[in-house]
């Protein structure tokens, strides 16, 4: 049966080539498209994570819902000890976020002023790496402020200038001081660059009366794929009034938006597959109808309708297996290569900056399981496409089939 199927494939070259080519191209397109879509989404998330959020945060319960000073972590040292003892935690640092007014002689602007531990923060955000002018903060800085470039633009200040900070201390008294701008940063995320300013936490603590306090502690992990396990472990170790929150929860809205985008991507591919399905089915149908007399002859010499079904199905399985295997052999290296060497499209970061894209690279995502199920879907479509033509072929009796013109 196998050799007969193989002979048929070689004999009906036109059908074989067209079906093979369609299957190969649609499978390859699907693999590359999904790798591209997943890579794009992962890139967006990673950009946002790298810029500021990182892998997980430790909060006092209630802070994420209510915010403000009533829900500050009031014993950062104890959280520090827990994080140090938790396997899988790579780096961590406390942050104190407070909304304040930054003012010059002529201009004022509201800003999120973040007290950070400058050196530790290098490992946790892109603040230092996004230096635009001047310099980044140093651990021994006092009244130094590091501004987003858009915020500096609004305040019309540059490194060396002085801005007044007026905010509310954690005891709700006024916190005010003059800060010298030591540098500006540009991440490419407009909102981030327009609203954030960093100061050294040690100095900020004297101003905000926030020694040993933090809005939250940010942490990175050794392996992002094992984040759930680390978070679970951390939750067991933390005091009951604290919570460990992974990035997927912190960026819930963005994750959901990407889910919706993926659905639309799959719908687009679905429409394409419907077309491919019918094209393959029509080709198979025409091929099988054209072979009616041949199939009638096979039935006459002893093959049952079941055998005919097996033969035709085997032909399709051989074709689909070859085409899908080849598409995987070609598509997987493409996904792998472009994961390591992302495609660069000049200007894409500017166009998509509100989605968190901070550079012009678009990497693909190489994932063996995804590639296999992509190929599997196209394979299944091929098998489904041949069922109706086979059913039509089996309707004729051997005599009717042999008399078919």
């Amino acid at each position: 049966m196998f050799s007969l199927a193989l002979k048929n494939l070689l004999h009906y070259k036109g059908r074989t080539v067209v079906t093979f080519a369609l299957t190969f191209l649609s499978s390859l397109l699907f693999i590359v498209y999904v790798a591209f879509m997943d890579g794009w989404h992962e890139h967006m998330l990673k950009s946002s994570l790298d810029v500021y959020n990182n892998a997980l945060h430790v909060y006092k319960k209630g802070y994420r819902e209510e915010g403000g000073y009533d829900y500050l972590i009031e014993n950062v040292k104890s959280v520090d000890a827990v994080l140090r003892a938790t396997p899988g935690i790579k780096a961590y640092a406390p942050r104190l976020e407070s909304f304040a007014l930054l003012s010059t002689e002529k201009d004022s602007a509201g800003a999120m002023v973040v007290g950070i531990e400058a050196e530790k923060e290098r490992l946790l955000s892109k603040a230092a790496a996004s230096l635009h002018a001047g310099r980044y903060l140093e651990d021994n800085d006092t009244d130094a402020i590091y501004l987003g470039v858009e915020l500096a633009h609004r305040l019309k200040v540059k490194p060396g200038d002085v801005v007044a900070l007026i905010g509310t201390a954690t005891d709700y008294s006024f916190a005010a001081d003059n800060f010298k701008v030591v540098g500006t940063f540009k991440t490419g995320l407009f909102e981030f660059d327009a609203s954030l300013a960093f100061v050294n936490k040690a100095y900020d603590d004297t101003l905000m009366m926030s020694a040993n306090m933090a809005s939250y502690v940010v942490a990175s992990v050794d392996d992002l794929d094992r984040l759930d396990g680390v978070v679970s472990d951390l939750r067991k170790r933390l005091a009951s009034d604290l919570e460990a929150v992974p990035w997927s929860t912190l960026m819930h809205a963005q994750v959901e938006a990407m889910g919706v985008d993926s659905v639309f991507g799959y719908i687009s591919m679905g429409v394409f597959f419907v077309v491919i399905f019918f094209v393959i089915m029509i080709f198979s149908f025409l091929n099988i109808v054209g072979r009616t007399r041949e199939l009638g002859m096979l039935r006459a010499i002893g093959l049952s309708p079941r055998d005919v079904t097996k033969l035709l199905m085997l032909e399709m399985l051989l074709l689909a297996t070859g085409a899908v295997a080849l598409s995987i052999a070609v598509g997987a290296p493409i996904a792998w290569y472009y994961e390591l060497h992302p495609i660069v499209i000049q200007g894409i970061a500017e166009a998509y900056k509100e989605y968190g894209i901070v550079n012009d690279q678009i990497p693909m995502r190489f994932n063996v399981f995804t590639i296999l199920w992509n190929g599997g879907v196209v394979f299944a479509l091929n098998v489904l496409a041949v069922i109706y033509p086979i059913a039509v072929a089996n309707r004729n009796t051997p005599i009717e089939a042999m008399q078919h013109v």
């Binding site: 209630g62 819902e65 209510e66 000073y69 009533d70 829900y71 909304f99 007014l101 003012s103 004022s108 602007a109 509201g110 007044a164 007026i166 509310t168 005891d171 709700y172 008294s173 006024f174 005010a176 001081d177 003059n178």
Partner: protein
């Protein structure tokens, strides 16, 4: 049918006009020609309780000046409201700062009052349409909805007013989605030079997680219509009267 329609429209206009008249009386009663006050604000939150003491001078709708007397860390910080703009002077940095629009919804001094409250408080009759909801004895409940072109924070305010002495009894503030955001209680009405004033005001946020929060204002040393020097209502005053 036409008579009924005319009657209904007439009744609605009459109610609206009466409501606006009541609001205007309350504002005139509270504002006076000019007023000097000392007040204590006790701010209670989840984590702490603190007291702020303030001295204020005001003239009409558009001018007011405030100076913080207590706590010592904040002593000498001054605020000037001129038209609908808010300015602030902080002695520590010797800087006069205009509070920008983006900061108007921020808490004032960590209380449940916002900067916007400090500026817009006396413009209810200008910015809101008033409508009587019910009358019970001398207490009238009025719904205040923003006028179409008014730049206001609240989606609606429902105010209970004692028309016997033209003072507010209770206000509920709603956001743009009709959700209750905070309520304000007024009590201990006293008379100063013919003005009936609630000397204790209590504001309570109704948002989830702020159950323990409350800001209580207690007025003392209230002096009405004795004249306030124009020198308070200039930007120079922020620094001069800070000492």
């Amino acid at each position: 049918m036409r008579i009924l329609t005319l009657w209904l429209i007439g009744a609605m206009l009459l109610f609206a006009s009466e409501a606006e008249e009541i609001i205007k009386k309350v504002e005139d009663n509270f504002r006076g020609e000019n007023v000097y006050m000392k007040m204590k604000m006790v701010i209670t939150s989840e984590r702490s309780q603190r007291t702020v003491e303030v001295e204020s001078w005001a003239e009409g709708k558009k001018k007011s000046f405030m100076k913080i007397l207590y706590p010592p860390r904040d002593q000498g910080i001054t605020f000037l409201k001129l038209d609908q703009q808010l300015w602030q002077y902080v002695p520590k940095i010797e800087r006069i700062v205009k509070i920008p629009p983006s900061m108007m919804l921020q808490s004032w001094m960590g209380s449940d009052f916002t900067n916007d409250d400090m500026v817009k408080e006396s413009s209810i009759s200008d910015d809101y349409d008033a409508k009587i909801l019910k009358k019970e004895g001398s207490v009238v409940t009025i719904a205040l909805t923003p006028k179409p072109d008014a730049a206001v924070v609240w989606g609606k305010i429902v105010s209970e007013i004692d028309t016997g002495n033209d003072t507010q009894v209770h206000d509920v503030f709603y956001d743009d989605f009709g959700k209750e955001v905070r309520e304000m209680f007024y009590g201990e009405v006293k008379t100063f030079n013919g003005h009936h004033i609630p000397t204790v005001m209590r504001i309570k946020p109704l948002e989830k997680g702020k159950g323990k929060n409350e800001s209580r204002v207690i007025l003392s040393d209230v002096v009405y219509d004795q004249g306030v020097s124009d020198s308070y209502f200039t930007k120079q005053a922020l620094k001069r009267y800070s000492r």
